[in-house]
Symmetry: C2
């Protein structure tokens, strides 16, 4: 075991703080300890036979398909090859060094496999194998204790059991036992999850919405490395600038609280707590063996620790998207622009509700902006307000429209601008070419301006066009949401986090 363990970082804040030098050393130890987990040079997959239906075999095929550049060793009692790789009869038979093991073995083989890992000086092992504390038996809990005991003796770390482990696009490690080996773009969002299903789903959403992950880890029952450990690692990881977490419960609440509190000082931490309700908590116990505390305790804890609490996958991905795209943006004065197609009145009203309910401000535009808008669009009462309804532009002249929008974002009172585009109604009144032109303008504006531009693209009857435009805007790092409510909530979250720091 290394002299300093990551556990050392979990000191209560009342103890003496380490010196800067000591801190640096601790960080170096931490990063070194996690290197074989996210950047292994070699991975053995047990059990990966020639049978394509086996999870292990799928894992091997996924690593190969993803183009993982290290060595991959399939291990199984059967013979033959997987993805052209020779199968080794057991872990000891592997010739080279093994940094990391992905284990998908029957429960009764787990301890023997750990013995083999000790012999092979494996650095870390993730267990897909389930059926431990989460099924509520004494046997399950005792086996977990034995697993930890064996790992501790050699300094090996365990991820799981009952998890799908690691995703690291930078190092071409795909997530879970899928033969497709799908990888998103490598980016700056870290995510830790007690649920493999939610980790896998968020990775897919990431691919769809350009939320680009540095690392994801699904750690299931977390018998050795737990939420706190991974949070500390992601805090230290220079590739990661925002951290998300799906948590159901923890065995060490005090440590988790202290960790989130420390980590949130450096990087935003977005937490979705699963098992808030009684029924949900029961489900959590049989899912990851977590004893979920009451929802109220979590809410208070997360708030005090400076984390951003979210409910559900949508809100989680929205928050990660906006922290990724807008980083350190501070502000709360937002302008809303609606009526690109006809009739922005209802949008103005409902957008006002959505934004002010989340705590954002919609200040009146400054005198100078209002005068300029009046010169441009004519003497129209409501145009002078915020939300701005640009459907008042004479004949919806595209030039006047884009000038009006630029006037709004340049108003010194305004710190960010949300534009709602209803594609289906827009296309009922204007041509695809005009739609293209106005979005060219948005992409230029988003790139040129220091103030954030956020686009709302509500679903409707032009889904193909909408999805393609959404891709274009997201690629240009313009945060894009399907509803004003979701945009407002995400902006309010980043505003609150950065303003309070």
């Amino acid at each position: 075991m290394p002299q300093h363990s990551v556990k050392d970082l979990a000191r209560p804040s009342s103890t003496v703080l380490p010196t800067v030098q000591q801190s640096d050393r601790l960080l170096a130890v931490l990063l070194e300890e996690f290197r074989p987990i996210f950047y292994p040079k070699s991975i053995a997959v047990v059990d990966a036979s020639a049978n394509e239906r086996k999870a292990g075999s799928k894992w091997v095929r996924g690593l190969v398909a993803a183009g993982f550049e290290g060595r991959v060793y399939p291990v199984s009692s059967g013979r033959g090859t997987v993805s052209g790789l020779e199968i080794f009869p057991n872990l000891r038979a592997v010739h080279g060094e093994v940094d990391y093991v992905i284990a998908s073995v029957p429960k009764q083989s787990v301890l023997a496999l750990l013995d083999d890992c000790v012999v092979k000086k494996v650095k870390a092992i993730q267990f897909f194998t389930a059926g431990f504390s989460e099924i509520g038996t004494t046997d399950g809990r005792e086996m977990e204790a034995q697993m930890v005991e064996k790992a501790r003796q050699s300094g090996m770390r365990i991820i799981g059991p009952n998890c799908i482990g690691v995703y690291c696009p930078e190092n071409r490690i795909p997530l879970g036992p899928s033969p497709l080996g799908k990888l998103g773009t490598s980016g700056s969002v870290g995510f830790i999850s007690q649920s493999g299903g939610i980790a896998a789903k968020l990775a897919e959403i990431g691919i769809a919405r350009h939320i680009n992950f540095s690392k994801i880890v699904s750690f299931g029952n977390g018998i050795d490395l737990d939420a706190s450990d991974f949070l500390q690692y992601l805090a230290a990881d220079t590739k990661t600038s925002v951290i998300g977490a799906y948590l159901e419960g923890t065995r060490n609440g005090r440590r988790l609280f202290q960790t989130i509190k420390e980590v949130a000082k450096a990087k935003p931490v977005v937490v979705w707590k699963g098992g808030r309700t009684e029924v949900g908590a029961q489900a959590a116990t049989s899912h990851t063996g977590s004893l979920a505390s009451s929802a109220a305790v979590w809410v208070a804890m997360l708030k005090q620790a400076g984390a951003t609490e979210v409910h559900g996958l949508e809100e989680l991905s929205d928050a990660l998207l906006i922290f990724q795209d807008l980083g350190r943006w501070k502000g709360h004065n937002v302008a809303i622009v609606g009526g690109l197609a006809d009739g922005g009145g209802g949008i103005s009203v409902s957008a006002s509700d959505s934004c002010t309910e989340t705590g954002l401000d919609l200040p009146p535009l400054s005198q100078r902006t209002r005068e300029a808008l009046t010169r441009l669009l004519g003497e129209v009462g409501s145009i002078l307000r915020n939300p701005v309804d640009v459907s008042q532009a004479p004949n919806r002249d595209p030039m006047a429209l884009s000038q009006a929008i630029e006037l709004v974002i340049e108003d010194p009172v305004i710190e960010a601008m949300i534009v709602q585009e209803d594609l289906d109604t827009f296309l009922s009144y204007s041509s695809s070419a005009e739609l293209e032109r106005i979005n060219d303008f948005f992409v230029r504006l988003g790139g040129a301006h220091s103030k954030p531009l956020i686009i709302v693209l509500p679903p409707g009857s032009a889904e193909a066009e909408r999805l393609s435009l959404e891709q274009r805007l997201l690629k240009a790092s313009i945060p894009t949401f399907p509803t004003m409510e979701r945009a407002a909530r995400a902006i309010a979250a980043i505003s609150k986090y950065n303003s309070h720091r």
Copy 2:
């Protein structure tokens, strides 16, 4: 003016109720009075010149494109034709009878046009023209009073001003001044809206999500026919079985309350109140001239009246969809099935949270079902619970999977079943053919079973497949939602409405 006006129906509930005969007569009068609005035999559009950019011209082209079977008369001082139809120099010059007028004229021409309408015995007129009470001038308010005065003298009804009027797919009347003349399928959902933009957007969402409208009406400032009138009509309309409303304010709160209360006894009324916040209320005043009351007053009023209150377009369309598809379904005991792809644990936990937070119950499955599931899927702890995680099925055998799902829906304790399908993760582990097979099964199950099947299809990285499957399920009248939260909220809404009646 007819002997009984619709206004008669707006009696406070304390007055003597009419006899059944009287009620029938009142209903007949009501339906007759609204017939020229939703089922006109002839429509004149003023001002509809040969200039394609004019709103009136677009309206004419839209009516023709939609295949409206009555007569369409373009009226304009200019000459020529629109969509091959001869332009009349003024309304009086039109040869035939004119039931209905769509007016898109300058504000200063409004009163003269009304005079012409009186001469031509027009039954109803809708004004796209804006710039009245909503701009906050005395002049605007006075003109509205004069308009009502003129209309009252001849028994003509006014829709608007500042609105896009009527949508009636059954009678091939498209919504708003779009030359495309888009029409959805005619159905059973009625919708009234103070906002034209929101009415237009909901019509598009209806086309996308198979929410099929009987009628939509955008009535803007509602100076003559107001929310209460349209609600009464839709209550009487046999084509309509569920009613939605986007409202910002009303000039007669008592009447609106009484009306919603009466209407909600017969048909579900789903209300989205715009302008809940102070900023939103200000926007509402400049949008439709509405004086929005405080949010708290509305919340209490809607609750007492038995309406379903929603926030935003998503929740509105979700509620309309479920009332359309599930009608009079009562119940609150829901089963959740997850894990069609791998890893249903996190879904089970979060689905439990979503459902129980909305007030739905997830009862344990009955002893008999649990025994049958154990025989089918093996001795697995969590399968016996609700949510049911079918990823436990050995090798995810499709036959075992569908049998397990049938066992769940047939459990006598269960009143409805929600299945979550994550297409992208499913396709990471299984083939398109398997996905096809399982959804064939769902369509059969949804059609065969008296208990509702609801599907959750979360967005992700397989959007093309997801949209096509969503279309298939919605066409089969299986309510489909993108998130468990939205499904749960919609089911809770219908459960609450039907159970309380």
